[in-house]
Subunit: 333 residues, 2 copies
């Protein structure tokens, strides 16, 4: 790495990181950072790599990218019921530009500071734009929200509204005209795509209440399937219950549904909780300031060897046959 790159790191990342490493015994500047979970707790660890063209568009606002790069990682901690502690950032850049780095680091640290998450280490190199963050959070061993903990009879819940990020991407791609929306609605969709809010507060509030949880990054249909596979259970989901924003409802009904069920990039939580916890779940949502909506139920597999699957119905309980394949947010295949 050249000296000029060292000074870029120093300028935009390391100096700011030092102000905020009270939690880490040793932060940036040594071979390793040193960190321990709070006494009696475990470190929850997650890593995500963001690549131009798949996770963001080439002309992305760098401030929004800084936000989103950390947000999608904090969303993994939220889905585990973990409290954010620290993160590392590895960054490949073709040509480091000061204004770009300044906006990117501003967006990154604004979110990091909001959740008390300290930058404790990293790496920079020259190469095609690539961001790899690894986040660390604290969680008591018996209160982690795991994917394998759903039980027959559980309600299925989601936070927020689904499909907005996919609708925003469709505008950018010209799949539907921006003229469908009022300015405030279009702005809300763009915000959902560029600045997802990690549901950290909700994840913490659901400790001891929810059974299984994950964050929706690839679309509800695919992600809920992960809970079903890991928990060896089946699900019934009433698509008319799946929460959709006013803006999303401007799209044709079948497109709304595909955005909400298979659009991806939502970063809302999908979780299961026992029927008797309904009030506690609603209280958790109120505490976290985000709507939580019941969309279905978990059931036992009919036979142990069955493949876990989702039965989709409408509000009248009519079974639906949905074709959701190939609607991935950034699927370039």
């Amino acid at each position: 790495m050249s000296l000029s790159e060292f000074s870029l790191i120093e300028r935009f990342f390391a100096r700011r990181a030092r102000h905020d490493t009270r939690d880490a015994v040793l932060g940036i500047g040594d071979d390793c950072a040193l960190l321990a979970p709070s006494p009696g707790e475990l470190l929850a660890i997650s890593t995500d790599m963001l690549v131009e063209g798949r996770h963001f568009l080439p002309d992305v606002d760098p401030h929004a990218l800084g936000h989103k790069a950390l947000a999608v990682n904090l969303s993994d901690l939220a889905a585990m019921g973990a409290r954010p502690r620290a993160f590392t950032l590895a960054l490949a850049l073709q040509t480091p530009r000061e204004d770009w780095l300044e906006a990117f680091s501003d967006g990154l640290f604004a979110l990091a500071e909001r959740y008390g998450c300290a930058l404790i280490g990293g790496d920079t190199t020259r190469g095609p734009l690539n961001l790899c963050l690894t986040v660390f959070g604290d969680v008591p061993p018996d209160r982690a929200l795991r994917r394998d903990a759903a039980r027959a009879g559980d309600d299925i819940w989601v936070s927020g509204t689904l499909g907005d990020a996919r609708a925003a991407l469709g505008i950018l791609r010209g799949e539907w005209p921006a003229s469908l929306w009022e300015a405030d609605e279009a702005a809300a969709l763009k915000h959902a795509l560029e600045r997802p809010e990690p549901r950290v507060t909700l994840g913490l509030a659901l400790r001891g209440i929810a059974h299984a949880a994950l964050d929706i990054s690839d679309g509800l249909a695919g992600d809920l399937a992960h809970i079903l596979e890991r928990s060896r259970v089946a699900a019934t989901v009433d698509v008319d219950c799946v929460p959709r924003s006013r803006a999303l409802r401007k799209l044709p009904a079948d497109v709304q549904l595909r955005c909400a069920l298979a659009g991806g990039d939502d970063y809302e939580l999908c979780f299961t909780a026992p029927r008797e916890a309904r009030e506690a779940v609603l209280d958790a949502g109120a505490h976290a300031g985000v709507a939580v909506t019941r969309i279905g139920t978990i059931s036992a597999l009919r036979e142990a060897a069955d493949t876990p699957s989702i039965a989709w119905t409408d509000a009248a309980q009519t079974p639906l046959s949905l074709s959701l394949h190939g609607f991935d947010h950034f699927d370039a295949d």
Copy 2:
């Protein structure tokens, strides 16, 4: 991510990871891995990003790349005196090829298993080839080998020999003819470039003996300067003492020196230890099966405001003026 990519991960990484996650409470397959350091210890954490063209050449042997991607990260743990526990792997690939992934994962896991380091999480995406690993190791709080712990009067030591990786790169680049070397020497140089051995055992053996340590990735001159800056001390290094392999000695003397002092990609340890620990250091090297060589001494800054710097001398104590700039291993600037 497409279904086919999920199955690639399952095939080459996740299945193998599961056999080896006894250390982690929860490994691959959930939103986060869960890990805690051994009781009373800290987690040492380091992240490195490897990019084609800067850290490896486009036609690199994927088995060697799998080895090296983990080796350079374990080298950071070694430099901290930390015991490897686990790692995460994020991988961007343009076109996943089975034979490539099989060889890459074989190289990766062969080294991981040797050091008891479990794969506990990761991410894969489509994009220009990029590898980002984050490693975790255990270290007791008061025994970590930090960069800021060098003291005036300390000896300066390095492990192994320096400059071999840079000599190998010079062959690949056509900077010097391969015909300078016998086949076994050329193979040894190539091995140094492609399959560096992380000095984990030496790092552990130096706990309680060495003061400061780091691993040499950018060249001795630049890396030793990091210890000096962090410790606020100066150094004198006798360049005739810097250990050079028989193969490196086939190059002209001035080129040898530039390879050994500024070539980079060595992944040997540079550390300081008090004079009275000389025998203990030699014992640690013998225990770890790697040569350790004393190359200089640490001294106090003449004035507190002085810039820490390295005084180079030869064996006759004659001061040398060296021009080492622009000899980086993969410097593409």
